[in-house]
Structure formats: C-alpha cells, structure tokens
C-alpha cells in the first residue's frame, strides 16, 4: 500500500474514534457550517467563559468525509481550555500539519471547514471585544 496519502494512522484514529463528538446541553453558542459543493456539514457546541475569553468546553457533530471529521476532532482537542486569541491565531498551515504538512488540493476544503467554521465566530468575538475596549476611551 502506498503511504502517499493523507489517511495517516493519526487521522484514521480520529476518524474512527472522534474526540469530543456529540452535543453539549445549553451551550453558549452553536456554530454550523457546510461545504455546499461537497455536502460536508459540521456543527460545534461551545461553552465559553466570557470573562477569561476562554473556550471552556467544545463538542462537535458532523456529517462529512473522514478528512473533515478528523480535522474537527483534532481541532476540538487543540482549542479546549484555550483563549479565543489562540483559536484565532491558528492558520491553514496548522491544520495541514494535522495531516503531515500537506494535503491534496481537492481535499483542502474538507480539512479547513472546521477551522473556518469555528473562527467565523471567534474572530467576531475578538473584534467585538476590541470595539468595546475602544468604546471605553
């Protein structure tokens, strides 16, 4: 078997046994996003500590390919307990590192969907808080 593909053991492990899979009751927010063209869907449930700006807890469910599911799983592990600023500092490159540093162009969208979804919310929060700080002066 050629190993020139992205289904490394790590990924397959996360796909078969996704971490933080499921729903959170009474989340502070829920984020849903989809790659319309391939039908990948992901949904995050987040418990958020407003004062510390920290992601207290996070879970997800997905109807998606293995790449997207594993990417979401790894992401939840990475961001749990971390401040918003850390989430927002994550880049495409960090996600690609989940998959050994590179990914076929046709699968990039699948891999990046979870981060894109999460940051759509966390970046908005960070912006808001900057605005609010400005408002103080």
């Amino acid at each position: 078997m050629s190993s020139d593909h992205i289904y490394l053991d790590n990924l397959l492990d996360h796909y078969r046994n996704p971490r933080n899979y499921g729903e959170i009751k009474n989340p502070d927010f829920v984020i849903e996003d989809a790659n319309l063209s391939c039908g990948d869907e992901v949904k995050f449930f987040v418990k958020f500590d407003k004062n510390k700006n920290v992601i207290e807890d996070i879970k997800f469910v997905s109807r998606s390919c293995a790449v997207c599911k594993a990417s979401a799983s790894i992401l939840t592990e990475l961001v749990k307990g971390k401040p918003i600023s850390f989430v927002n500092s994550l880049t495409k490159k960090d996600v690609l590192n989940f998959f050994g540093g590179r990914i076929d162009p046709s699968r990039e969208k699948c891999a990046l969907l979870p981060l894109r979804a999460l940051q759509s919310k966390t970046k908005a929060i960070e912006e808001d808080s900057h605005k609010n700080q400005k408002d103080l002066f």
């Binding site: 078997m1 593909h5 063209s37 391939c38 039908g39 390919c65 293995a66 790449v67």
Partner: protein, 415 residues
C-alpha cells in the same frame, strides 16, 4: 462486437501510472479519454490546413472551410439530422443556455409553464430557472417514477395545464437511466409544446436519431465522446432554425452591415444575416474542435454505437453482480438493460469523497464522487454524495475486478 483490449493502444493515457498503479479510468461520464486518431486529426489540421474559414479566398482557407463543412455533415449524419440543423457551440452547457434563451424569447410569455425533471444536470436546470425568472414563467420540476425515468403521468398533467416547453435529459448522468424520449416527444407534440433534449450522456453511449426521437432542440458535447474539449452541438429542427434570431452576433454570421447615418442613433444599422446554421455561429468557429469531433465520430462509428452500448452494459452487469453485498448501497435500477454505463453507489457509512480519494491513492482508479452537478436528484436519493463509476469503450472486466478488490481495501481502512 469489439474487444476493448484491441483498442486500448489507441489511448496513450491508459499507459500512465497513477500512484504507482496503471490508471483505471472510470470517470467517463465527466469526460472521456481521447484516441490518437483524434489528436492526429487536430495536428493535421493545424500543420497542413489551418486557416480561418468563410471569407478568405486562398487555398488554406478553402481547405479549412471544406473540412469544417465536412465535419458538420459528419455530425448531422451521426444523429440523422441535416447539416443546416447542426450548429457548433462550445459545449452542452452553452448549447442549453442558448436554447433556453431563444426559446424563452420567441415562445414564452408571462405565466407560461416550463417543465423539466428531477433527473437533470444543473446545466439543464439553471438556464431554465434563469429564463423563467426573467420571463415570469413557472418552472415545474417533474419527479421520476420508480424506474428513475420521468414520471409520464405528471408530465402529461402539466401539459394539460398548458405547459409550453419541456426540457429533459435523455440519459441521467447520475443513474444512467434512459428517458423514453420518443414517447415523450409524441406526448409533448400532441399538446403543441416544444421538446428540448439534453443528450450529453446519450449521444456518446448509444445510437441517437433525432428524426426518430422527433425532438425540437438537442444539445451534446464532444469531450464526452472521444472528442476535444470546447466543442459542442446545438441541434435545432429546421422549422425552428428559420424562426429563431441569432443569440450571438459578430463576424462570420452576417452578409452585410450598413450604417444608416453618420452619427447613428438607435438601431443604427441595417444588418443582413447569413443563412442557417452559419447565422448561429458568430465569430471564428472552432474548426479544430469540429475536426476533432468528426474524427471521434469516425472512431465510434467504426465500433458501432449499438456495440458501444452493449459493451458498457456488460461491464455494468458484472459490476452490479459484485456490488450485491451488505456493504453497498446502489442507486437506481439494478438491471443493466435499462441503463447506460453508469453506476452510482456508496459504501455504507463512508463518505463518497473518502472512497474516491482512496481508490485513486491505493489503486490508481479514477471515479467521481459528489452530487455530479445534479444536486436535486442526489438529495432525493437520500444522500449528499455518491460514488459514480462510469464506463467507456476501453474499460475491461479486469479493471472492474481491480476496482472491487480496491473497494474492499477501502472499506477495511475506513470501517
């Protein structure tokens, strides 16, 4: 009948190695591979006879014009049309957009009903969405019956309601099912409506006779039938050719343009168009594409379109027998005789993209996964994506064996 092993050497790409394995190309419904004969025809054109067609008075231009005309004749004969009924376009999608636009302009009024079906490729759905919106018409999407062809009763009900235009795919690009166009055209015409047929997936895979089908407009493309990309055909029945205004304007399709005054205003020009089909081909035509399509038709004709269909069905039959296990969900009819060489399925619980990806990486097998530009249909199948294996003349039983082995490997990895 032909043996695919006798023709594989005409397709150099079949010698390519993909991820270390010999390419197995099962993505023919997306685009077919090209035989040497087609590329040679293109090369010969460019290296011996290349010129712009039409007006120039020199030997190359006359030869190019003659080649272009012969290609049109070849296409016409292939579908049993006359040359005036064959307009070259850049592809099925452009043909269908043009048809929707001119049919709407000439024949549709506000509140009119246009009918299409759930089986359509986006290219035969969205242009009608657009023109129906522009013309304030109602677009009705007819469901399929249990054999995954158009529900004739529902179609007739809409015709009774006064539907003016019916646009229907001949063969589903997801399921391979074949609509009974001849029956449909009788019905549609008995209500004095117009029938448009998307033949992108039929003309490459089975005999198609426009006189017998009696459709009013038809669209198909070269690249799915051994020909080059960027070339398509718009068939229009002679009667309509004479009624319809050109949709693109420019060089080559006019006899004369005269300005009526020096600083002219609205409708400043007196324009006289060439006869059909030239009037419908504005600008420098794609002679290369026509010549390539002509060579492709020669290739297919030598095999015989009945044999092409028979060969594909043998492959489908063999594959369907091997997809019977519990692991598979196969969509559409399970009877090879009601479809062309297309099989859509899923490995239960595994996303189609993962299957397609691993088939390629592990075994060099090219299939398509997703909604195949027929999202409404795939949604009705109850999923967001299928794996589609689609066959053509060069595919073999041995390739299907390798495919089945690879599917088992994929299943092992991802289950």
């Amino acid at each position: 009948m032909f043996d695919p092993n006798d023709i594989r050497h005409d397709f150099p790409i079949l010698n390519v190695k993909v991820n270390g394995k010999p390419l197995i190309y099962f993505d023919n419904a997306a685009t077919s591979q090209k035989p040497k004969q087609v590329i040679e025809a293109i090369e010969n054109f460019y290296f011996l006879k290349n010129a712009n067609v039409g007006r120039s008075i020199h030997t190359l231009a006359e030869e190019a014009t003659e080649l272009y005309f012969q290609s049109r004749k070849k296409v016409a004969d292939f579908i049993n049309a006359t040359p005036e009924e064959v307009v070259f376009s850049s592809g099925t999608t452009e043909s269908l957009n043009a048809i929707a636009n001119v049919v709407a302009e000439k024949f549709l009024n506000p509140k009119d009903i246009v009918v299409t079906s759930i089986l359509e490729h986006h290219s035969n759905l969205l242009p009608w969405v657009k023109v129906c919106k522009e013309k304030s018409c109602a677009l009705k999407v007819v469901n399929a019956n249990k054999n995954w062809t158009i529900n004739i009763e529902k179609l007739e009900a809409l015709l009774k309601e006064g539907a003016k235009v019916v646009s229907l795919t001949h063969v589903s690009n997801v399921l391979g099912t074949i609509n009974p166009i001849k029956e449909v055209s009788k019905l549609v015409h008995s209500y004095d409506a117009i029938l448009v047929v998307d033949a992108a997936q039929s003309v490459p895979h089975m005999p198609v006779d426009v006189k017998d089908l009696d459709c009013d407009f038809m669209a198909f493309g070269a690249h799915k039938m051994l020909g080059p990309m960027g070339t398509g055909v718009l068939y229009l029945k002679k009667r309509y050719a004479d009624l319809i205004e050109p949709w693109n304007l420019g060089g080559g399709m006019i006899k004369s343009v005269k300005l009526l005054n020096e600083v002219p205003e609205l409708s400043c020009c007196k324009v006289t168009y060439e006869d059909t089909p030239i009037r419908f081909e504005a600008g420098t035509p794609n002679v290369e594409g026509a010549v390539g399509l002509s060579a492709a038709i020669d290739y297919l004709s030598k095999l015989g379109m009945n044999s092409v269909l028979f060969h594909e069905r043998q492959l489908v039959k063999y594959l369907l027998e091997n997809l019977k296990g519990n692991s598979f969900e196969v969509y559409g009819p399970k009877d090879e005789n009601s479809i062309t060489g297309i099989v859509s399925f899923n490995l239960k619980g595994i996303h189609a993209h993962d299957v397609a990806y691993l088939l390629d990486k592990l075994a060099g097998i090219a299939v398509r996964s997703g909604h195949h530009c027929a999202q409404p249909l795939v949604n009705i199948l109850g999923t967001v994506a299928t794996v589609r294996a689609s066959f053509y003349i060069y595919n073999t039983i041995e390739e299907i064996n390798a495919f089945i082995e690879a599917l088992k490997e994929v299943e092992k990895m991802l289950k």
